[in-house]
Symmetry: C2
């Protein structure tokens, strides 16, 4: 069963985020706390949304998504930031349940696309996405500016 | 000068979107209309925001952005969907003005990152981004499901 997360799930979500980061070999990058997550997912200005997968009443995975926007389509899409299923519940179709849930939501809200990133070495995930009918956008590369470079870029301007 | 777009700019924005798509060799993909764009940028449930660059009181470019979210940081970032400067105004620093404006906005709103995609063949843009201190996220690939595949995925589920 897939359901919307509530503030009572924050402890579980943070634990899952840490497990996912461990799997992605990126655990050193996690600086989120329960307080920051509560604000970001349930605060007045929340931009992201969380889902929980339950098996026999126990949380077995989570998903975080937000809305992006396609200029060419002129309409929003859904971007999946994370999908995670606990090791003991993997291979039972929960991952696909999240995709089906979000595809239905996209249809319901007239969103044109579901998009997400995958680490290039995660072949098992890539095979799964290919079976879903997803296509790699490999003519594009994502660029990011953060940290000191972002601060330096911000210096000369005041925003209107 | 960079300013927020208003509904009166929609005609200009759509014209710029078409010029940008032409440059990206993706003009066949544009299905946006003034009506759809007005709804998406200024409607009650708008997820995306537009900026206009002006030179001598004339629109010389546009930028569309929205908020994304980093699970690891536990906070939002700004994703730049499009930046476009008209051919006659290029090489005068307007592109950088958009980045500076959004970097200042990111700092102001405690967003951790600016991110965007670039077409791999657009070396002039890549060189510019590198000078800004941006880094390619080339260990990741974006996947997308849309159209018939998205509709098929949505079929079995009702959303809660």
């Amino acid at each position: 069963m897939i359901r919307r997360a509530t503030p009572a799930d924050i402890g579980t979500i943070l634990r899952f985020i840490l497990e996912l980061a461990e799997f992605e070999k990126l655990a050193h990058m996690v600086v989120a706390t329960e307080e920051i997550l509560t604000q970001s997912l349930f605060g007045a200005n929340a931009k992201a949304h969380a889902l929980i997968a339950e098996v026999d009443g126990e949380a077995a995975g989570f998903c975080i998504y937000f809305y992006n926007f396609s200029t060419f389509l002129g309409r929003p899409g859904i971007y999946i930031e994370d999908i995670y299923v606990t090791p003991e519940q993997r291979s039972h179709g929960l991952g696909k349940c999240f995709f089906e849930y979000l595809a239905a939501k996209a249809a319901d809200e007239k969103c044109g696309r579901l998009e997400w990133w995958v680490l290039n070495w995660n072949q098992r995930a890539i095979d799964f996405y290919t079976r879903l009918g997803a296509e790699p956008m490999d003519e594009w590369t994502v660029y990011r500016v953060s940290g000191d470079h972002l601060a330096a870029l911000a210096l000369p301007k005041e925003i209107a």
